[in-house]
């Protein structure tokens, strides 16, 4: 089922949810196009889940509006949900029900279950639906939430940090599933606080911080935002090409301690690797900094007060 031509799957206008004390979401203007995988990126507490709950009609906006396929998220919430698959940030607790019973229960509320689709999804993620929910590991609970969100082939998937608890293999399987859903005509709105995950699957990215949409960027621009903390260890007695490293594109904050060099790298690694290509490097460690660090380095904005320690 394809969404109507010309109607944006998601459109918000000055959408605000004010919890007081500068917490919530403020003046969100956003449009997500059909068959787009839109990443919604932000640190913890930035307002991602609030946005998603507003879109799902779980909470009422203080002001502004949100529309899904042209329908108001509060007024037409039942019709909206016919076309949406939802994966909440916290997997609900189903106690002693088996996975299969949970699927039947919620599928029953939707009017029926596509049994072949459920079987295919469960088999794909190796999720044993005959086990009780209580016996599931956190990864299996997340898999069940994925099955619930995808089982009715929705036109729009709203996913709140969907890969939490999944091992890397299942994460890859999930990314594949997302692409398939998009290729079948679905639109995806995916929140995350992991830059590499968003970079992996999304076409476009919205970055939210302190309840405000800071930027909407194409994937290429995101790659520019990308920062890595790199540590290089040179072989004993090896001369460190300090100046070449310092002059490399994207290299910042370089420090040298003995045979170890630490720096941050924006964008591609290529200039750095070229700079050290003539030297013997015995160890190289690259870590992805937290979003907060990325914001600090990229947007040069002060750290939010709540995160001070």
């Amino acid at each position: 089922m394809l969404p109507e031509m010309g109607t944006a799957p998601i459109r918000t206008s000055q959408l605000t949810k004010n919890y007081g004390a500068r917490r919530g979401l403020f003046d969100l203007d956003l449009q997500v196009s059909g068959q787009e995988v839109f990443g919604y990126l932000g640190p913890n507490g930035a307002g991602k889940t609030t946005t998603i709950r507003l879109l799902m009609g779980m909470i009422r906006p203080t002001s502004g509006s949100a529309h899904i396929f042209g329908m108001d998220c509060v007024r037409d919430s039942v019709e909206v949900k016919r076309r949406v698959g939802y994966l909440p940030g916290d997997v609900p607790q189903f106690g002693s029900l088996s996975g299969g019973e949970v699927v039947a229960y919620l599928g029953g509320m939707r009017g029926g279950v596509d049994t072949r689709r459920v079987h295919a999804l469960a088999e794909r993620f190796e999720l044993d639906l005959s086990r009780r929910f209580r016996e599931y590991s956190s990864g299996n609970k997340q898999k069940l939430a994925i099955v619930l969100a995808f089982m009715h082939r929705p036109d729009l998937l709203i996913l709140d940090e969907p890969t939490g608890g999944l091992d890397p293999l299942n994460q890859q399987e999930f990314y594949l599933l997302l692409r398939e859903a998009r290729d079948d005509g679905a639109t995806v709105f995916l929140s995350s606080h992991i830059l590499s995950e968003v970079e992996h699957v999304c076409d476009r990215v919205g970055i939210v911080r302190d309840g405000k949409l800071v930027r909407v960027a194409q994937l290429d621009e995101l790659r520019h935002i990308r920062v890595h903390n790199v540590e290089l260890e040179f072989a004993p007695g090896e001369t460190i090409p300090e100046q070449q490293i310092r002059d490399s594109d994207g290299v910042e904050s370089m420090t040298v301690s003995g045979q170890r060099v630490a720096c941050s790298v924006h964008g591609s690694f290529e200039p750095l690797l070229r700079a050290v290509s003539g030297s013997r490097v015995v160890d190289l460690v690259s870590t992805e900094p937290s979003l907060e660090e990325i914001f600090l380095s990229y947007f040069k904005e002060p750290k939010p007060k709540l995160l001070k320690s």
């Binding site: 039942v78 909440p88 039947a104 599928g107 049994t115 079987h119 209580r134």
Partner: protein, 539 residues
Amino acid sequence: MSFVLGLRLGRWGIAGFSVAALVSAFVQTAGFYQIAGHTAAERTAFGASMATLATQFVALFPPPIRPDTVGGYVEFRGIHPLAILFGVWALASAMGFARGDEERGIVEASLATGTSRIALVASRASAFVAAITAASAAAGAGFLAGVASGHETVELRGLIEDLALLVAVGFSCYGIALLVAQLVPARMAAAAAGGVLLALFLLNSLSRVFASLATWRWLSPFRYYDLGQPLPPGGYFDTRALLAMLGIGALTAAGAAVAFLRRDLGGALVNVPLRSHRPGYDASPTVLWYLPLARGLYERRAGLVAWTAGMAVLAIVFVSLTRTIVNVLLSVPALLPYLSSFVHQQLYPAVLGFTWFNVAQLLFAALAITYVARWSAEDDDGRLEIALSEPFSRAAIVVERMAVLILAALVITAVSGATLYYASHAEGIDLNPGRLVAASLMLVPFALVFAAAGSLLAAWNPRAAVGLLGAFAFASYLDTELGTIFKLPMWLQDLSAFKLFGTPLLTGIDGRNLALMMLLALAGLGSSILAMQRRDVGA
């Protein structure tokens, strides 16, 4: 820290039960001065009538001592019911710690701080003792305020001893419930612990009627509670009984701590090994999951079977008790003229109607509270949010919840009513079948009133809903008990479902009362739909 956390997590229970204890004790005490008369002769006559009334409740409470005094009356009408109430609180609190907090990860987080399991159990048990001590003190304050309103004084020692008994019986129930919860799987913990406590309560109370049970009643902490009635003049206090209850509480809590040491988090001490089986990748084929209403009933099928079977067994017990009670009543010569003129040939139905339907009302109120507790939990554990992500309106969710409760109440009342009818018939007690059906059906709108109030509370503040609904049920009960004593306005008395229920087995259904009950239920339902539509979910 765990001690403070225990108090923090149970703050609604502490507040609710303390207020209930305070109000109950005050109202019963002040009520005594309204109805007992002021002269010695009036009070003697009042005491005699209370003693007669008490014979009908022999399966619940021990016979009163000196009910012609404020201490004896309040002991019987105020303190003994509080002991049962505190037992229920102990059960809920122990389950909250042993299973609820464990499922929410609170126990895991506490253990991760370096707190030992034994220390955790000890601190949470201590927190409960502190909580129940506060609620008992509130009951004592209510009693003293009531006595002051009657311009009398009482001996403080008897009151303190009485409150100590309340704390001890609550602590022993807490320890037992905590121990049972360690032994069985989480999904069965509440039912198993509740079943054990109910069995221990009935073992003691029914031993007053069935002599064969007296041999075993030492097993029940309620037996030791019965051994003291220190509040009335000439009452007695058995220190060994108090120590026995405290010992039961301490030993069972220690046993629970040891069991907790030996079991896995989330598991049971007695584990059934998982059978190896081929993984299943299909949704449940059970057709009931796909049918509105049926899915709600089917999901709660274990509870429904337990409630239905329990009520049916209780019906049989009450029919058996009726003969004993009537024999006692008939053995009082002074009552014979009253009995023959007032209830004519309907003595058995009158007694059965009074005892069984009184208890059935309390149980149906409890049934409604358990459903409301589930609705509140669904809010907390994210199930409401995921249900609302389906194309299902909030109003439909509220209506389906209520409809499931109605169906469950119908099933329970149908089976227990039929059991009551056939058990009575077997005992040679002829009940009017039409009236029995009508009276049994009246339990459904009765439960609906509480469910509607609970639905509104759950929509407004899910975390406080159970406590507030319990207080509402308690207030409704007091309303019907004391409305006439305190000459409360009729409209206020009519808000009590207990009052509106009436005596349908004896006098049939009062159409006005039924209409009022339906009106209250509909008002609650309508406002809960409105509240649900306006509120934020998951925020």
